[in-house]
C-alpha cells in the first residue's frame, strides 16, 4: 500500500538519528548515510534529510548546490549557434529508499519534498535547474518525472537534469503568481 505524502515526516539528519533499521541494497548509498552524511553536513558541504514513517527511517535524500555549464556551440555545422551558459542548480546528491518500503511511493514523496524545498529556496537564491546523479537502475524513475539524461557517456552514475521552472511557468498565468514563493 502506498504511503501518502501527508503521512511522512522529514527531519534533518543529526547525531541522535537512529539509522540502525535502515536497509539499502546499494552499498554506496548505505555507506554514505551511515558513514559520511553527518560529517559532510557538519562541514556544510551537504544536507541530508531522513524520510520518516511511523517513526522509522524509510528513506533519505541529500542536497547540495550545483551548477550546469553548457559550452558554446558554433554555427559552422549549419545549426543555430548557442552562447556559453551557466545555470544555478540544486543537486540531489543521494536519494534512497529502505529496501522494505520500495514501491510504496516513498521515492516520489521524497522528490516532492525536494521540489518544495527547491521552490522555497528559489525565493531566496537563484536556482533554476534540478540535477541528480542517478544510479543506473533509478534512471526510469527520474525520467518519469521529466528528468533528462545529461551525458551520452557516463560511468557508474547517470547525470540528469530538469528545468522545474518551465513547468511552474506553465501553471502560473502571470509572473506575479511566482512571487508567492518569495518571502
Amino acid at each position: 500500500m502506498n504511503i501518502p505524502f501527508e503521512d511522512m515526516d522529514f527531519e534533518i539528519l543529526h547525531s541522535g538519528s537512529n539509522l540502525s533499521i535502515f536497509k539499502c541494497n546499494e552499498p554506496d548509498l548505505y555507506d554514505f548515510l551511515t558513514g559520511d552524511a553527518l560529517s559532510s553536513q557538519t562541514k556544510r558541504l551537504s544536507v541530508t534529510r531522513l524520510a520518516m514513517y511511523n517513526d522509522h527511517v524509510v528513506g533519505f535524500f541529500t542536497l547540495v548546490n550545483d551548477c550546469i555549464e553548457a559550452k558554446a556551440i558554433e554555427e559552422s555545422d549549419g545549426e543555430p549557434g548557442y552562447l556559453y551558459q551557466k545555470y544555478p542548480a540544486i543537486k540531489i546528491a543521494r536519494l534512497a529508499t529502505h529496501d522494505d518500503y520500495r514501491d510504496r511511493d516513498v521515492g516520489t514523496n521524497m522528490l516532492l519534498k525536494i521540489l518544495v524545498i527547491t521552490l522555497r529556496l528559489s525565493g531566496y537564491v537563484g536556482c533554476r535547474i534540478m540535477t541528480v546523479d542517478s544510479k543506473p537502475g533509478a534512471v526510469g524513475f527520474y525520467q518519469k518525472f521529466g528528468f533528462k539524461i545529461a551525458l551520452r557517456n557516463y560511468k557508474d552514475t547517470v547525470p540528469m537534469y530538469k528545468d522545474y521552472h518551465s513547468s511552474l511557468m506553465g501553471m502560473c498565468s502571470d509572473i506575479s503568481q511566482l512571487s508567492q514563493f518569495q518571502s
Binding site: V64, D66, K71, A89, Y124
Partner: protein, 50 residues
Amino acid sequence: MAKPIELGLVLEGEDAREFHRYMENPSKYDTPAGRDLVRRAAYLAERTKL
C-alpha cells in the same frame, strides 16, 4: 567510504547542444507525472517556510 559528491556538470559537444535545445523549450520534455509533481509542490510550497 562512499563515493564523494561531485559538483558541477560541464556539458560539451552534442551534450551541450542537447541541453541548449532543451532550454529553448523545456516543457516539451516534461511528463504528466512531472507536471503533477510541480503542481503539488507549488501548492505545498505556498504553505511552507524554510
